[in-house]
């Protein structure tokens, strides 16, 4: 994939124990999904570091979703908690450089929640596409 293709895309880091299944099912069942979503399988949302997300933004992604298990459902106990905290910190870093912090999103879904996963991704992609946000980036 080239940077140009990524420009309008969303990268979703998906926990292989939960959200990944939900997103794949959503696709499989033909639920309405933004076309531009690229999923990256991760063993746990807690494994995704700040620099992974920043690299995704740098390479042209319009937004990044960190898709974890629901609260208290993490196989590694605290992975989702850590992931959410890390994302909060990352938003602060983006704020620091004047980059719209809503380009990154923390979300959770259970494996069976295909509809929920699809809805989260749709909403996120719609928000990213809104004129206000593009203007914000331009500025």
């Amino acid at each position: 994939m080239t940077t140009g293709e990524l420009r309008t895309s969303v990268i979703a880091f998906c926990c292989e124990n939960s959200a990944l299944q939900a997103v794949e099912d959503a696709r499989h069942f033909g639920m309405t999904m933004p076309e531009c979503v690229q999923t990256i399988r991760v063993p746990c949302a807690g494994k995704v570091e700040e620099d992974h997300i920043l690299k995704a933004l740098e390479s042209g992604a319009a937004g990044v979703v960190l898709f974890a298990c629901h609260t208290e459902n993490c196989q590694y106990l605290q992975g989702n908690v850590r992931a959410e905290k890390r994302l909060t910190r990352l938003r602060g870093l983006l704020d620091e450089i004047g980059y719209p912090a809503d380009a990154v999103l923390y979300a959770s879904a259970a494996p069976a929640e295909a509809a929920r996963a699809a809805r989260i991704l749709r909403t996120f992609a719609d928000d990213l596409a809104s004129v206000d946000r593009e203007e914000a980036i331009e500025q």
């Binding site: 620099d51 920043l54 933004l57 740098e58 450089i97």
Partner: protein
């Protein structure tokens, strides 16, 4: 370890203004362990600088490198080939690391990307606390292994002062009173009698008050 914190990106941006090619250098020792200036933090810092520059007119390239210890010539020299290609270095190391790079690369401006905080320990995951002030004349033998120089807000040698209450320091309810800790520890060790003696005034000439310090080992000098 030496504990540090990253400076605000806006401060770093101000320092590197005008530089087109920037090298962000991390240090693999103390500041890696305290999550301020290791390889990962270098990647984050470099990414932030590049992202911030998106949509700006100027060309900015940000290279990354992390060496084992910035405060040693042998490791600093590993950057010899990278440095000529850059206009500025942002050092994510303690003040000693920054100065080593500045001395090693005389023709390239070296900027501090961190604020060096203190010599400390990871109190718990994600929390670091100051434990040593490098005063040059250790008193821990007399204070139950708890340093009043680094951990008492007034560096009192004959504490605790009147502001110690419920084990906390008057300046901050989150800060333990070092002298309460010393008292408790010596009590536990059955050595409370040590606190009955007046500890004489400190000889600060061994500390930074005596001017920049130097340690020599004659047998090691070539």
């Amino acid at each position: 370890m030496i504990v540090a914190e990253r400076k605000a990106i806006s401060d770093i941006l101000q320092m590197i203004e005008g530089a087109g090619r920037v090298l962000v250098v991390g240090c693999g020792t103390c500041v890696t362990v305290c999550l301020a200036g290791g390889e990962k933090e270098v990647a984050v810092c470099a990414s932030l600088l590049r992202l911030q520059n998106q949509g700006e007119d100027r060309d900015l390239t940000v290279a990354e490198a992390t060496i084992e210890r910035q405060c040693e010539w042998e490791f600093a020299r590993e950057l010899d080939e990278l440095v000529p290609d850059c206009d500025a270095i942002v050092s994510l190391a303690c003040g000693a690391g920054v100065q080593t790079l500045a001395a090693q690369f005389e023709d390239t401006p070296v900027f501090p990307g961190l604020n060096t905080q203190f010599i400390g320990i990871p109190e718990e995951q994600g929390v670091w606390t100051e434990h040593c002030l490098a005063c040059g004349e250790c008193v821990l033998d007399k204070t139950g292994g708890i340093c009043p120089i680094a951990r008492c807000a007034k560096t009192i040698l004959n504490g605790p002062c009147g502001g110690s209450q419920d084990g906390k320091c008057e300046i901050n309810p989150e800060t333990d009173c070092a002298w309460q800790l010393i008292f408790d520890r010596l009590k536990r060790l059955g050595r409370l009698h040590m606190l009955e003696e007046i500890e004489p005034p400190k000889n600060w000439s061994h500390s930074s008050d005596g001017g920049p310090r130097k340690v020599k080992r004659e047998d090691m000098i070539l």
